[in-house]
């Protein structure tokens, strides 16, 4: 994906390839500006003004196979919410503050199932709250977002996202604003729903600990590219790319005194280094790293990284 800026075109998402199967969870890890949110927005047909996109994306469900990049706005409206749904970080800004929770969920259901009767829509809305483990769903449906705690609001968001029966769920930092004990409950809920509904889950986060808990596979992004990908256990226990290694050493754990930050800062998209984007910060760099962008190489099996050392 390319975006126009005052200083020229930049590529927030660059040569990204990935796949998610039904019932599988892929963790997408990256820091601010890595392109992880842009990627999910592009896959939802929610492009920023002036953006150019090339490449292919297809969504295969029981009913049909769709080429997402060829969809018109009318068709996108059926796909968004109907087949691909999204849960955002901050439920308070994603929910309408002057509309009851139940009515907001009913709106989604009606948009995708216009033939249902009012009673059926209402019942489906309450069912989706129940599925998201909202206690007393009938009573909660009558409440406004401000009457709910942060954790319940996020459950209501999940209920809304799943109300029209999507096959693929994008969750963009859904627990970042929550307390740890609540975070754990939400992660467990998403995990349960994924298995029960055979949902494909794309879980976007900056937190490697969260990824370890929810994802089966993980893709790490840096400056717009996926620089490492593989089964979550392998990537976190034996990271191949020096950036992933640095990110792990930068992540605080309960073990004390093990913190080792990565020197320097993420490069500006407008002034990317000619070779590997991580080269200027990398301890292990060699002369050839600055010459060209490394291809994704596998270390055997399905674990791969964009690094010449692999």
């Amino acid at each position: 994906m390319e975006l126009p800026t005052a200083a020229g075109w930049v590529r927030p998402v660059n040569e990204v390839s990935l796949s998610i199967s039904a019932g599988e969870s892929l963790g997408l890890v990256g820091e601010s500006g890595s392109g992880k949110t842009m990627l999910s927005l592009a896959l939802m047909g929610l492009l920023p003004l002036g953006a150019r996109v090339s490449g292919e994306a297809s969504l295969a469900t029981e009913a049909s196979t769709k080429s997402l990049m060829a969809l018109g706005e009318r068709e996108w409206r059926d796909v968004r919410g109907g087949e691909i749904a999204m849960v955002f970080q901050e439920p308070m800004t994603s929910l309408n503050p002057v509309m009851r929770i139940g009515a907001q969920i009913e709106e989604t259901i009606r948009a995708h199932h216009p033939k249902l009767s009012a009673n059926e829509v209402k019942r489906k809305a309450v069912d989706s709250l129940r599925r998201a483990a909202v206690p007393e769903p009938e009573a909660r449906a009558e409440q406004f977002p401000h009457q709910l705690s942060g954790g319940l609001r996020q459950r209501a968001m999940i209920a809304m996202a799943l109300a029209a029966g999507p096959r693929l769920l994008f969750a963009d930092e859904p627990t970042t604003a929550l307390d740890v004990t609540v975070q754990k409950q939400i992660l467990d809920l998403l995990d349960g729903l994924r298995r029960e509904l055979k949902l494909g889950l794309l879980f976007i986060t900056h937190d490697l600990g969260v990824v370890a808990q929810v994802a089966e596979r993980v893709a790490v992004m840096y400056a717009g590219r996926i620089i490492e990908e593989g089964p979550v256990r392998n990537v976190l226990a034996k990271p191949l790319h020096p950036y992933t290694q640095g990110l792990l050493r930068s992540s605080p754990t309960l073990k004390r005194g093990a913190l080792m930050p990565i020197p320097g800062a993420v490069p500006q998209l407008i002034a990317l280094p000619p070779g590997c984007a991580f080269e200027p910060r990398c301890d292990l760099r060699r002369a050839e790293c600055a010459a060209e962008i490394p291809a994704l190489r596998t270390s055997g099996g399905d674990h791969a990284a964009r690094c010449i050392l692999v």
Binding site: D179, A212, S250, P252, P261, A265
Partner: protein, 267 residues
């Protein structure tokens, strides 16, 4: 070791409910901070960990008297801050500075970095010459990792991590003995947060600073704390040396918080 700050039975209650139109009649009282006591030595880090609404920010702000406590004592080098007035309070206050969570909201967008960082000097050392002020500002900015070029620029030109460094420079310029840091890395990216945590650690060793470190995150706190207090509903449910609280938690709530921390395989 020398005790720097002692807090005894600090308390703050608010009226619950009410709202704009209720004229403040009736309503139950709600205790934000409930008879909290602790003390901290020079060069140590006392961490307060708890979830949203537990009272940790109210506690932090009371220590600097940004919120007036309802009762208790705050003894800084033996003097009770709550009974000090005017000049005496001001001269104590310069010994304790704050670093805030949000590096975007805590810096005035219309001031240049040099003005932001030098502002405490204008208040507490008004007699300082322009040259001296400039020298102190440059020195402290250099110490937190920002070059001279940063002085003329405005906050919006910096990244989150750099802004947090500006906030730290502002807190350090008066050479305080105590820094109260309220979630200083929770708005930052992982790798940037790690850089800031290490900077705080280095500055602590260099200037024998004491930190009161407020955070919701046990892993973050584990990096710096010498002592940890776990706070829930206004109370310290468990306090002790950091190793003890992390390795042999006594209270169920501490155990719950520890078990909710997502673990990294191999860590």
């Amino acid at each position: 070791m020398e005790t720097l700050l002692t807090v005894r039975e600090l308390r703050k209650t608010y009226r619950r409910g009410g709202g704009v139109f209720s004229q403040g009649t009736g309503g139950a009282r709600f205790t934000a901070v409930d008879n909290v006591s602790f003390s901290i030595n020079r060069g140590e880090t006392f961490a307060v960990v708890g979830e949203s609404g537990c009272g940790k920010t109210t506690l932090a702000r009371m220590l600097l008297r940004l919120i007036e406590p309802d009762g208790g004592e705050i003894l800084f080098e033996g003097r009770n801050l709550l009974t000090l007035r005017g000049e005496a309070l001001r001269s104590q206050r310069r010994q304790m500075q704050m670093v805030f969570q949000d590096p975007f909201a805590s810096l005035n967008p219309r001031m240049r970095v040099s003005e932001i960082v030098a502002e405490p000097l204008a208040i507490h050392e008004p007699g300082l010459s322009e040259t001296e002020r400039l020298a102190r500002t440059t020195a402290i900015l250099g110490r937190v990792g920002l070059n001279e070029d940063a002085m003329r620029r405005y906050p919006h030109e910096f990244s989150g991590g750099q802004r947090q460094r500006i906030g730290i420079a502002r807190a350090l310029i008066l050479q305080p003995k105590l820094i109260v840091a309220d979630e200083p890395v929770s708005a930052l990216d992982v790798s940037v947060g790690a850089q800031v945590l290490l900077l705080l650690q280095e500055l602590q060793r260099e200037f024998a600073l004491a930190y009161i470190f407020i955070s919701h995150s046990l892993p973050v706190v584990a990096q710096l704390a010498t002592h940890i207090a776990v706070m829930r509903a206004g109370l310290f449910v468990e306090t002790g040396p950091a190793d003890k609280v992390l390795d042999q938690p006594q209270h169920d709530y501490t155990r719950e918080l520890l078990s909710a921390v997502p673990e990294l395989p191999g860590a």
